[in-house]
C-alpha cells in the first residue's frame, strides 16, 4: 500500500488513527498498541504476504537477542551475543539482497530467484541499532510485542526514517489516557499535506523529463543530459523527502515524533554539509555505527586513516542502496569527495559561496546518474552527454516538450525548483506550526491539488521503495 494511494489516505490511515485514539481515550493503552501492531503488520503484508516471515523472523530473533544482551552478566558472553546478532542481521541482508551481485560472476544465475522482502535494508539497520544500543546500555530490552511494534511501525518500516528506541519512546512506553490528544493531529495533517504535495505534484512533474531523457536510445546532447540529470536530482529529493514528510506526519497523528530526514540539502555549499542534510538518519547511522568504530579501531587515528574510513563507510552506504556496482561507485565517489572536502578545509582557504554551491550541486546531481542508471554502460553514456562528448546544443523538442500535459509539468517543475531553493523546508514549517485557520486552509488546498495530480495517472512507487 502506497502512502500516495486513495486506500491509504481515505481508509487505512483515518481508520487506524480513529480506533487508536478511541482506545487511548478509553484507557485501553495496551489494546491501542496491539491495534497499531496489527495495522502495521497488515500494512507491511499488503506489499506481499510472503514478505512477512522475514520480518517476523527478524523481530523474534532480535527481541530475544536484545534481552540476552541486556541480562547477560558476563561481558564476554554479552559481546558474543552482540556479534552473533550483527552477523545474523547483516548476513541475512547480504544473502537475500546481494546474492546475485556476489554469486552472479561465479555462474549462480538461479541465485536471483528469491524475491527481496520490502524494507529489509531499513529494518535490518533498525535492528542493528537496537542490539548495539542494548549492548552499550543505551536501550532497555523491548518486550516481544513492543519490539514487534518498534520494528514494524508502518510509517517507517518500508523506507525509514531509521529510528532508535529512544526516538520512539512515546510509541513504546505506556501512555496515560490523555497523552494522544488532538494536539498532535493538526501538525501531523499539515506535514502529510506537504509531503503528499511534494511527491505527487513536484516529484511526478520531474519524472516526465527524467523518463524522456533516460528513454532515448541515441546519445543525448549536453543540454539534454543536464536537463535529465538535474530533473532526476529534484525528482529524487521531492520523492524521498515527500515520503519522509508523510511518514513523520503519519507518526505524529499517533503522537510519535520521528526524526527528520532532510534539511534543504540542495542549498548546501559543500559535500560535508550535504551529507548532514541529506537522508540524515542514514548519515547518522553510518557515522555512529561504521565510521566511528573504524576510527576507534586505531589508538591514534591519523587524518589519512580517517579519510580511508570515510571512503570505506560511504562505499558501504552506497552499496546499501542496492546490489549494483553503480551504487558502490556512487558511495566511493561521495567518500572521495568528502575526503577532498576535509582536505580543503585543512588548508583553511575559502571559496566564494556561489562557487561552493555550484560545485556541490553539480557534483551531487551528476553523481546521482549512478543512482538512476540501470547499469554502468548507461551511466557512462549519460556522462558522455554531461561532458559534452557529443553534440552540445540541441534539444529534441518533440520528446522533451511534446505531449499534452508537458506545459503544466514544465511550470510545476520550475515552481518546484523555486520552492526547493527559496521556500522554508518541511522542518521549518513543522517547527513553526501554529493551529490557525490560514494554515488549515493552505494544508487543505495543497491536499486537494495533490489529489488531483494523484488521480491523473496510476500512483507511482517511491524511488526508495526499491532499496
Amino acid at each position: 500500500m502506497l502512502f500516495t494511494s486513495f486506500e491509504y489516505l481515505f481508509v487505512f490511515l483515518p481508520l487506524l488513527v480513529c480506533v487508536f485514539l478511541a482506545l487511548r481515550r478509553l484507557g485501553f493503552d495496551a489494546a491501542s498498541r496491539y491495534w497499531l501492531l496489527l495495522a502495521s503488520l497488515g500494512f507491511y503484508a499488503s506489499d506481499g504476504w510472503l514478505n512477512l516471515p522475514y520480518l517476523v523472523l527478524s523481530i523474534v530473533l532480535n527481541a530475544w537477542l536484545g534481552a540476552k544482551i541486556v541480562h547477560c552478566a558476563d561481558p564476554k558472553m554479552k559481546r558474543q551475543f552482540l556479534s552473533f546478532g550483527l552477523v545474523a542481521n547483516i548476513g541475512l541482508l547480504i544473502v537475500i539482497k546481494y546474492r546475485v551481485l556476489l554469486l552472479g560472476p561465479f555462474g549462480f544465475t538461479s541465485a536471483g530467484s528469491v524475491a527481496v522482502p520490502s524494507g529489509i535494508s531499513f529494518f535490518t539497520l533498525v535492528q542493528v541499532m537496537y542490539l548495539t544500543d542494548c549492548y552499550e546500555g543505551l536501550a532497555k530490552p523491548n518486550t516481544a510485542i513492543n519490539h514487534a511494534l518498534f520494528v514494524s511501525f508502518f510509517p517507517y518500516v518500508m523506507m525509514g526514517p531509521l529510528v532508535r528506541t529512544r526516538d520512539v519512546q512515546s510509541l513504546l512506553a505506556p501512555q496515560d489516557a490523555r497523552a494522544a490528544a488532538l494536539d498532535d493531529i493538526a501538525p501531523g495533517i499539515e506535514q502529510i499535506c506537504v509531503g503528499l504535495f511534494k511527491k505527487t505534484v513536484f516529484a511526478q512533474s520531474f519524472v516526465f523529463f527524467v523518463d524522456t531523457g533516460w528513454g532515448q536510445n541515441r546519445p543525448l546532447t549536453f543540454v539534454e543530459a543536464w536537463i535529465t540529470t538535474i530533473a532526476f536530482a529534484f525528482e529524487l529529493y521531492f520523492d524521498f523527502s515527500g515520503y519522509s514528510d508523510m511518514a513523520v506526519g503519519a507518526a505524529r497523528l499517533l503522537g510519535v515524533k520521528l526524526p527528520a530526514n532532510f534539511d534543504s540539502p540542495y542549498k548546501c555549499k559543500s559535500v560535508i554539509e550535504f551529507w548532514r542534510r541529506w537522508h540524515i538518519t542514514l548519515s547518522n547511522f553510518i557515522t555512529t555505527y561504521m565510521y566511528t568504530p573504524l576510527l576507534r579501531a586505531r589508538k591514534k587515528p591519523t587524518f589519512s586513516w580517517a579519510m580511508c574510513a570515510t571512503v570505506f563507510s560511504m562505499a558501504v552506504a552506497g552499496l546499501w542502496h542496492g546490489a549494483q556496482w553503480t551504487f558502490l561507485i556512487f558511495g566511493i565517489l561521495h567518500g572521495v569527495a568528502l575526503a577532498i572536502n576535509h582536505l580543503w578545509r585543512k588548508t583553511k582557504r575559502r571559496i566564494p559561496s556561489a562557487l561552493g554551491w555550484t560545485l556541490t550541486f553539480a557534483f551531487v546531481a551528476s553523481s546521482l546518474v549512478l543512482f538512476r542508471a540501470p547499469d554502468m554502460g548507461r551511466a557512462l553514456k549519460m556522462y558522455n552527454g554531461l561532458l559534452g562528448a557529443g553534440a552540445v546544443l540541441g534539444l529534441d523538442r518533440e520528446a522533451f516538450l511534446g505531449g499534452s500535459v508537458t506545459l503544466v509539468r514544465v511550470v510545476v517543475a520550475l515552481v518546484g525548483v523555486v520552492v526547493c531553493f527559496f521556500a522554508p523546508n518541511s522542518n521549518t514549517i513543522a517547527k513553526s506550526f501554529e493551529s490557525s485557520g490560514r494554515r488549515a486552509l493552505i494544508g487543505a488546498v495543497l491536499f486537494v491539488i495533490a489529489l488531483v495530480f494523484m488521480n491523473s495517472l496510476s500512483a507511482k512507487e517511491f524511488i526508495y521503495r526499491e532499496f
Partner: protein, 319 residues
C-alpha cells in the same frame, strides 16, 4: 485556535474542494460516463488514448453500432460518411491490438455493437502489450477530476471558441492533413514529389537490405489479442470485417511475398464467419498506383480515405 478547530476547517475545505471538483466533472461529463450517454456528442481533444478508452465504456455502445479498430493508418477514415452503419473510429495513433482490445472489450460488452471492423496492418501485430501508461482502469476514476481531464476541458473550451483546431469528429475520426503535430513525424502531403521521394527511399532501402521490414514479424501475443477481439465480437453477436488497407502498388510489388506471407499467417486467426476486404486486390490497382493517394509510405491521403470509406459503406450495405 484549538487543534479541533484546525482539523474541522481542514476537513471542511478538503470536502468542499472534492465536492466541487467531482461535482463539476459529473456535470460536464466530458467522456459521457455518468449521465445518459444517448444522443451526446463527444470528441477527442488532446489525449486520444484516454478519450477513446473512456468513450468505449458508454458513449460508443449507446450511440454507435459499429467499431473500427486500427492504428494511424485508419485514423483518418471518416466513418461519419458511412450511411449503412454508425461506426465509431477507435483507431489510435501508434496502437497495437492489445490496446484496441481494451476498447473493443468495453464497447462490445453492452451487446449493441453489430460490426467490428479491424484494419489489420503489420504495425498493429508487431508488438503486444500496453504501449503507454494510459488506458488503465484507473483512468475511469480520473474522469472524476484529474490533470488530464482539466487539460481536455481547456482544449474543448479553446476549440469551441475557435482558438484551437479540432481535428477529431464525434465519430472518432482524426483529420491529420495539415496537422503540424502529425506532420512533424510523418511529413507533409502538400508536395507529392516529396512523398514520392520518401516512398522511393523506403523501396530502395527494402531492396538493398533484401530482408522484410522488421514490422512484418508478428508477435505471438498480438495474434492472441486479435483472436480475442474476434472471439468477443462473435460472442456478443457482432459481425467481423477484416480490412487490409491499400499499399502503394510499387512498394507492394517489392514486398509482395512478405505481404502474402503476412496475410496467410493472419488467416489462421480470422474466424470462418468473418469477411475479409483486401484493398490490395486488382479492383483497387488504379488507386494504389497514384502517389497522391498517400500521405507517406503507409498513411492514406484524405481523398483516398474518403474513397475507401465509400467502398466500405458499399460493402457494409451489401452485408
Amino acid at each position: 485556535m484549538s487543534s479541533k478547530r484546525f482539523c474541522s476547517i481542514w476537513a471542511i475545505t478538503v470536502l468542499a474542494g472534492i465536492v466541487a471538483i467531482v461535482g463539476s466533472s459529473l456535470w460536464l461529463d466530458h467522456y459521457a460516463l455518468f449521465g445518459d450517454p444517448k444522443g451526446k456528442v463527444r470528441k477527442v481533444y488532446r489525449s486520444e488514448r484516454t478519450s477513446k478508452y473512456l468513450h468505449s465504456f458508454r458513449y460508443v455502445p449507446s450511440n454507435f453500432d459499429g467499431l473500427l479498430l486500427g492504428a494511424s493508418i485508419s485514423a483518418n477514415w471518416d466513418t461519419s460518411r458511412l450511411k449503412s452503419a454508425r461506426v465509431y473510429n477507435a483507431s489510435i495513433l501508434g496502437a497495437n491490438f492489445f490496446e484496441e482490445a481494451l476498447i473493443a472489450d468495453n464497447a462490445l460488452s453492452a451487446g449493441r455493437i453489430h460490426w467490428v471492423i479491424a484494419c489489420v496492418h503489420p504495425y498493429l501485430t508487431n508488438t503486444h502489450g500496453r504501449k503507454s501508461e494510459y488506458m488503465t482502469p484507473e483512468e475511469y476514476r480520473s474522469a472524476l477530476g484529474s490533470l488530464n481531464l482539466f487539460i481536455e476541458e481547456a482544449a474543448k473550451l479553446l476549440t469551441d471558441h475557435g482558438l484551437m483546431t479540432g481535428r477529431y469528429n464525434e465519430y472518432g475520426a482524426y483529420d491529420y492533413t495539415g496537422d503540424p503535430d502529425f506532420e512533424k513525424t510523418h511529413g507533409s502531403q502538400s508536395d507529392p514529389n516529396a512523398v514520392r521521394r520518401a516512398m522511393q527511399v523506403y523501396i530502395d532501402q527494402r531492396i538493398k537490405s533484401g530482408k522484410p521490414e522488421a514490422q512484418f514479424s508478428i508477435s505471438p501475443g498480438a495474434l492472441d489479442d486479435l483472436r480475442g477481439i474476434f472471439a468477443t465480437a462473435t460472442q456478443h453477436g457482432a459481425k467481423v470485417l477484416v480490412v487490409y488497407p491499400p499499399i502503394y502498388s510499387f512498394r507492394f510489388e517489392v514486398e509482395r511475398a512478405d505481404w502474402e506471407a503476412y496475410w496467410s499467417t493472419l488467416a489462421t486467426v480470422i474466424p470462418p464467419e468473418a469477411t475479409v476486404l483486401n484493398f490490395n486486390l486488382p479492383p483497387y490497382d488504379v488507386g494504389r498506383a497514384d502517389i497522391t493517394n498517400f500521405h507517406d509510405s503507409r498513411h492514406l491521403s484524405k481523398k483516398y480515405a474518403v474513397y475507401l470509406v465509400s467502398e466500405l459503406d458499399r460493402f457494409l450495405a451489401e452485408h
